[in-house]
């Protein structure tokens, strides 16, 4: 009968000959194989000294971006929270006061913005949902911690600081955005 996958193999179950039943030829050929491997290139990456580059599509810790003038992009529309399949994002919106134009780009902003990193599955749907290019997933790794509470990241840890901007150009040119 023709097999569906075309990968069927007929296995031989014939009785072993005397030489084969001593296992010696098989043992010797096996040892030759392992011996050759002694001289092969090691595949180990010695981690702290040597680090593998992340893939450009890597989705790690989130960042809330500011624009060129240092204003927060986020307008607290809540689309990211709606898109989030793990329901990891919560936020409280507030209205921009007069005199805060240099802080927030839009008239409405997020007073609090929290991502629970233990709930987050790093799918990147928040990033795709965002109409203001405010949230991005970066190639940074969420650090370990002892307390569950410490995994709830507020704005203090999510918004990029003025003197230390997070580069997301790679991220902006991958996937759907790259084809635009």
């Amino acid at each position: 009968m023709e097999s569906l996958s075309n990968r069927r193999k007929v296995v031989s179950n014939k009785k072993m000959s005397f030489v084969e039943s001593l296992y010696l030829p098989a043992v010797v050929s096996g040892m030759w194989i392992t011996f050759k491997h002694i001289f092969k290139k090691r595949t180990t990456i010695k981690y702290p000294e040597e680090q593998r580059p992340f893939a450009p599509v890597y989705r790690g810790m989130h960042v809330l971006k500011r624009d060129e003038q240092g204003r927060e992009n986020c307008t607290a529309c809540g689309l990211c929270a709606v898109a989030c399949p793990a329901e990891a994002i919560t936020m409280v919106a507030a209205e921009r006061e007069v005199g805060q134009e240099n802080l927030y780009r839009e008239e409405k902003y997020a007073e609090t913005y929290e991502i629970n990193m233990l709930r987050c599955i790093f799918c990147g749907l928040c990033e795709e949902a965002c109409p203001k290019e405010a949230i991005f997933l970066t190639d940074r790794i969420v650090p370990t911690n002892f307390d569950r509470d410490d995994f709830v990241y507020g704005k203090d840890r999510l918004v990029e600081t003025l003197d230390h901007r997070i580069d997301v150009t790679n991220r902006q040119h991958t996937g759907k955005r790259g084809t635009k």
Binding site: S21, L22, Y23, V27, G30, M31, I33, T34, F35, H37, I38, K40, K41, R42, T43, T44, K46
Partner: protein, 376 residues
């Protein structure tokens, strides 16, 4: 008793013991390195340069772990198990001739702790006692996996000891002596027993892999099936003793293989040296041979998967024992027909450099004819 003799033996005992333990410690490092290389990895390289302090770190870790004895275990036997394993492993080194005699201050110092005339029997006997360490440890743990492992280990060791014994008899037949010193001395230069008895060597080698409880015969440990076997319940340095004993066994087995079949401290061109130079080079050559066999043991371990239990018994009883018996009978017949049935000088005796007989020449001719006969 002669004080000088006492002193020299004490020093030798201490040196051999220290070297054995050192070798055992660094075999753990070597094992991990060899395993890593064969699997395209790097292996331990964090403790010290190239990770050479790894064994010390491991031992330190084991010492600081909790020394735990399970509630239902037989306390004294539980402690005795690793003790016996370690003791039997270390004591075998006493009869191995580590090198040609040294000359120190006019004394001839033999580099063998005890030249007993039944050295080979002693080794076999101690190897049989070695199984008690595993059996007692496995039984005293009061754990069914440990017990299973102990049963497997003892049946395996008993089965493979038979073929091992028969192949040792073949070597004894060749050299006409049970003393390891005599057997080694007769393999002068390149006149190694392995050239005359390759099949016997193979059987002996396979059996010593089984006796050392190493893969592919590590039925007693079976990490994946018996969760460590007889040392499941052990922790801390008692566990360390079992692991250590295994590596001491490996070292000693390699030494015995090298002594019985690969000429011990003998090497080609050894006639160009004499006295202390010969003794030192000979000892180094012997250690190199031991190192080589340790590597082969490891090589096999990281190549082959574990035998199934029935395959193990099948190989032991139905293959190795008949082969070694047939080999024994053929060797006996050849020796008998080349030397006469009741010749007091057996086959290899004439090879010995120590034989200072006028009849050496005539017997040596016989010796040559024996070799040609045997090769045919």
């Amino acid at each position: 008793m002669d004080t000088g003799l006492l002193l020299e033996k004490t020093i030798l005992v201490l040196i051999v013991f220290a070297v054995t333990l050192f070798a055992a410690a660094y075999q753990t490092y070597m094992e991990r390195k060899v395993a890593a290389w064969m699997q395209d990895r790097v292996g331990p390289d964090r403790a010290g340069p190239f990770g050479i302090l790894q064994p010390i770190a491991d031992a330190g870790k084991l010492f600081f772990k909790e020394d735990f004895i399970p509630a239902n275990a037989d306390k004294w036997l539980f402690i005795m198990g690793p003790g016996i394993a370690m003791f039997t492993a270390a004591i075998t080194g006493a009869v191995i001739p580590w090198g040609p005699p040294l000359e120190i201050m006019g004394r001839t110092v033999s580099l063998q702790i005890a030249d007993i005339n039944i050295g080979v029997l002693f080794v076999m006997g101690i190897a049989s006692i070695g199984v008690y360490g595993i059996m007692i440890g496995g039984w005293a743990s009061n754990n069914k996996f440990s017990l299973f492992s102990a049963i497997r280990a003892s049946s395996q060791m008993i089965s493979y000891e038979l073929a091992m014994g028969v192949s040792v008899i073949t070597v004894v037949l060749m050299s006409g002596s049970l003393s390891l010193n005599e057997i080694v001395a007769q393999q002068h230069g390149m006149n190694w027993n392995v050239w005359y008895q390759p099949l016997c060597f193979l059987v002996f080698f396979i059996c010593s892999v089984a006796e050392c409880n190493r893969a592919p015969f590590d039925m007693a440990e079976c990490e994946s099936e018996l969760i460590g076997g007889y040392h499941t319940e052990y922790g801390s340095m008692k566990m360390g003793f079992y692991l250590f004993a295994e590596y001491v066994n490996l070292f000693v087995s390699s030494a015995i293989i090298a002594a019985l079949f690969f000429g011990g401290y003998n090497f080609p061109g050894m006639d160009n040296f004499s006295g202390n130079t010969l003794a030192i080079i000979g000892t180094l050559v012997f250690l190199f041979k031991i190192l080589f066999f340790i590597f082969v043991f490891m090589w096999i371990r990281w190549t082959l998967p574990r035998f199934r239990y029935d395959q193990l018994m099948h190989l032991g009883w139905k293959k190795l024992i008949p082969i070694s018996l047939i080999n024994l009978v053929i060797s006996a017949l050849v020796i008998a027909f080349s030397y006469g049935w009741f010749n007091s000088k057996p086959a290899n005796a004439v090879k010995s450099s120590e034989v200072e007989d006028v009849a050496v020449v005539s017997v040596a001719q016989q010796d040559n004819s024996f070799k040609t006969n045997f090769n045919n």
